[in-house]
């Protein structure tokens, strides 16, 4: 029972990361109906920036904040420069461009920071009071940070005019222009925010799995799984889906298939959801083109 509780709680901790990635994916999907395959690589690259800063003497939280700014700028830039011309392009072109981005950012990470595996510090001291037999202090801190980020993002969308304008731009670009919303910039802003959320996920993941250019591959997959489970057009659902997938993965790893087939579990979840209930648990029904 104790072990089970431990698995569930630590599943929630990793689930927080999947929830963040899922939210980042959903934000971009809602605005433009594009699935950002490069989301994980963007996060990895940002995490490398954080590593570089910490390595050269920055205090952790300063590096954390600067990395968020960096991730935001990168997100906005990618949207403006690379993604923007493809809003009306067929799906194939869009996916090809995102895969291209994935390759480029991944190779940039490798070229700049080389392919050796690097340890990444956790901001939470390992002997902190909130550590327990159930959860390490990093896992507790991770849950706290991801919940904070999610709360901030939701508050932003719910209570600020800019958040409202972004929701409007995602729903109805034409009407949004007519009330003066600069839709193009809202999309870029969405990319910036998604980049930031991803960067947080990356910085929370790295202390557990170590930092290397392929760090986010499986995280991205689980993020997809979470987003699909919750419904890819529903941010709340995606976050919940992320947490559920985290717990499922941990339990499956502990009791069913062992840790070696983690990614395969994600594959099974993804295909399973797509086959059984493509709209997810909380999503609107997807209108599939026959």
């Amino acid at each position: 029972m104790l072990a089970f509780l431990h698995q569930v709680l630590s599943g929630l901790a990793t689930g927080g990361i999947y929830a963040s990635v899922a939210l980042a994916l959903v934000m971009i999907y809602q605005a433009t109906h594009q699935v950002n395959f490069a989301q994980g690589e963007m996060a990895t690259f940002s995490t490398y920036m954080a590593w570089k800063m910490i390595d050269s003497g920055f205090p952790y939280w300063a590096a954390f904040l600067l990395t968020l700014v960096f991730a935001f700028v990168v997100g906005v830039t990618i949207e403006r420069v690379i993604v923007r011309p493809f809003y009306k392009a067929p799906v194939l072109s869009v996916v090809a461009v995102f895969i291209g981005l994935l390759l480029i950012i991944n190779s940039l990470s490798g070229a700049i920071f080389d392919y050796t595996i690097k340890p990444f510090p956790s901001p939470f001291p390992s002997d902190a009071w909130y550590g327990s037999p159930y959860l390490s202090s990093h896992e507790v801190g991770m849950i706290f940070v991801t919940l904070m980020v999610l709360a901030l993002i939701f508050a932003f969308f719910r209570f600020t005019p800019l958040g409202l304008a972004m929701r409007a731009a995602a729903e109805n670009p034409v009407s949004s222009r007519l009330v003066g919303v600069r839709v193009g910039w809202m999309l870029a802003l969405g990319w910036g925010l998604a980049g930031m959320i991803g960067a947080v996920a990356g910085m929370m993941t790295a202390p557990i799995v170590y930092l290397d250019p392929y760090m986010m591959f499986s995280v991205l997959l689980y993020g997809f799984a979470g987003a699909l489970l919750g419904g890819i057009d529903n941010p709340w659902g995606a976050v919940l889906g992320g947490f559920i997938v985290g717990v499922l993965q941990n339990l499956a790893g502990a009791y069913v298939v062992g840790t070696e087939l983690m990614v395969t579990v994600a594959l099974v979840i993804i295909v399973g959801i797509l086959v059984i209930k493509p709209s997810g648990l909380f999503g609107r029904t997807i209108v599939t083109r026959v």
Partner: protein, 337 residues
């Protein structure tokens, strides 16, 4: 390569008063002749590379049938390539089946695998299918490494196999024989695909790609066509994988990762979607670019693939073949004047 001859017909046709069709036949014959002479003119290493290009071309043709002609996505065709390769390797390793018989078995297995994966894919629109196949590609090496399959797959170590010997009486080195063996599979596969794609079936596939609703209202059975296409496509790529295993005499999980699948995508995008000749350009590209770019940096091949994907989408969404066709039309018009 000599494939160039077939792709500039418009200009040539008007030069010699021969029809476009006639020139295509002549060009094709020339290419085939060149392909038959090739192994006697180049070194063993070069022959290995040429052979790999042919194998990739078959794999790309498989992906192009699915993505280019039928508009279904796959970011996971490396998985079918892997299944084909492992099927051949395991059969050679564990049974006494002759190497040539493993190829159709690998093809059949991949057809079934592709068909089964294609069934759920029926319900998925573009992005979702891309996502599911992406997950398949990421999961493939892990599945191949899984310890409970060790007794078959050899786990992380993979399987070493010996290459086929030249059948008795033929005056060929074993690598030359393997080249012809691959060619013997490749040519019929391309002829089959050509027959399939130029007629009713091809039109149906493209109709499904372009106007799924209209296609189904014209009485095209979408489900049947799409899942069968998935199967055929996987079969082609699987046969390529089987041939590739013979060529490399070795299979291991990490050679079938996400990047293999992505290379296939790069190949068809570069060569030209929905183009049969284009897959050769794609195959040449994905075979040689990594070798060249590796000299610069370990990160370079991927970066180049990435840039090619994006630049192709910006500047030549129809790939090399589209470019050549456009050039051909221009030349043709110039000559006509």
């Amino acid at each position: 390569m000599a494939t160039l001859d077939t792709s500039r017909p418009a200009a040539a046709a008007l030069f010699a008063g021969l029809s476009l069709r006639a020139w295509k036949v002549i060009g094709l014959a020339a290419v085939l002749a060149a392909a038959c002479v090739l192994p006697f003119t180049i070194s063993s290493y070069q022959l290995l590379l040429a052979n790999q290009v042919i194998v990739y071309a078959v794999a790309l043709l498989g992906l192009n049938i699915l993505t280019g002609y039928n508009g279904q996505f796959s970011l996971g065709h490396g998985a079918f390539y892997a299944i084909g390769a492992y099927c051949t390797a395991i059969l050679l390793d564990k049974t006494g089946i002759p190497y040539w018989a493993t190829i159709p078995l690998a093809g059949a297995l991949c057809f079934v695998a592709g068909f089964l994966f294609g069934l759920p894919a029926l319900r998925l629109e573009g992005h979702y299918l891309a996502l599911a196949t992406f997950a398949l590609a990421v999961a493939t090496p892990q599945l191949l490494k899984y310890k409970d399959f060790d007794f078959l797959t050899g786990g992380v170590q993979g399987i070493v196999i010996s290459g086929p010997d030249t059948p008795g009486g033929l005056p060929l080195r074993s690598d030359q024989w393997l080249y012809f063996f691959c060619l013997l599979w490749t040519v019929p596969l391309f002829v089959l695909a050509w027959n399939l794609l130029r007629g009713r079936t091809g039109r149906a596939l493209m109709a499904i790609r372009d106007h799924p609703l209209a296609a189904s209202s014209m009485g095209i059975d979408l489900a049947r066509y799409k899942s069968l296409t998935f199967g055929v496509s996987a079969m082609y790529t699987g046969i390529a994988g089987a041939l590739g295993a013979l060529l490399a005499q070795f299979v291991s999980p990490d050679s079938f990762d996400l990047f293999l699948s992505i290379r296939f995508l790069v190949g068809i995008v570069f060569g030209g979607l929905a183009s049969m000749a284009g897959v050769f350009f794609g195959a040449i590209f994905i075979e040689f670019v990594p070798n060249l770019a590796d000299l610069v940096s370990k990160a370079a091949p991927q970066a180049i693939y990435g840039i090619v994907l994006i630049v192709c989408m910006y500047l030549m969404p129809t790939g090399v073949m589209g470019l050549l066709r456009a050039l051909g039309h221009k030349l043709g018009r110039l000559v006509a004047r």
